[in-house]
Symmetry: C2
Subunit: 103 residues, 2 copies
DNA sequence: TTATTATATTACAATTTCATAATATGATAC
DNA sequence: GTATCATATTATGAAATTGTAATATAATAA
């Protein structure tokens, strides 16, 4: 269980992969659109997509020559919100520490 | 923002670090107790603690010779629940696929 | 002061992750 | 058929992560 949790988290824990998840927030998209939005190499993007698919976060289907990907778990987006809350709080803590040091 | 999210997730995404977070679920603990519970090397445990502290997930204070750590954000435990839900769902999907293959 | 306990830090080799580049596959258009 | 577009896969070297072992620090006890 612990190992599996780590695997899923690792699959998300990369800037490009978080960007992909963010891009798919609005709904499913084909690879070519994803590539255009995030502006990275086709090969690299494809590898990141495959990592997210392997961990079960994304799924996809073929549509002619294209492949359409989507986020399987909307909860992922809530996780991102939680992360942003932590980020904000961390930032506040740091600035308070700085204030105290300056006094 | 994206980078920072990835940093936090990376800091959590390791079996030992998830175990540490789990151990601290019940409340703060000193390093010696954590080491005893998870049964890993002192040095290694200390390194993982420091990674979690650096990302802001954990904080600590000195108490005499000991150092007591705790989880700063209870939301982390909710995140783990979300992960377990995904794990379960992934497992179900896989078993359904297997069933279909066998028919 | 010296020994001991609790914890952190450093050095290092093994492994993993990453981006790039090149190539392969597979569907459609001509 | 061949060319082209969309995507995946493979190879590779550089960079980051990991665990172990050794060492350092800092607090308390003797």
């Amino acid at each position: 269980m612990i190992e599996e949790r780590a695997e899923i988290l690792k699959s998300i824990a990369h800037p490009t992969r978080i960007t992909i998840i963010e891009t798919l927030r609005a709904g499913e998209k084909c690879v070519c659109d994803i590539i255009e939005e995030i502006g990275l190499e086709q090969s690299n993007t494809s590898q990141h997509l495959s990592i997210l698919k392997k961990s079960g976060i994304l799924d996809c289907r073929k549509e002619g020559a294209r492949v359409v990907y989507w986020v399987c778990y909307p909860e992922i987006h809530d996780m991102m919100k939680v992360l942003d809350g932590i980020l904000l709080n961390n930032a506040e803590k740091k600035s308070k520490l700085l204030q105290r040091v300056r006094k």
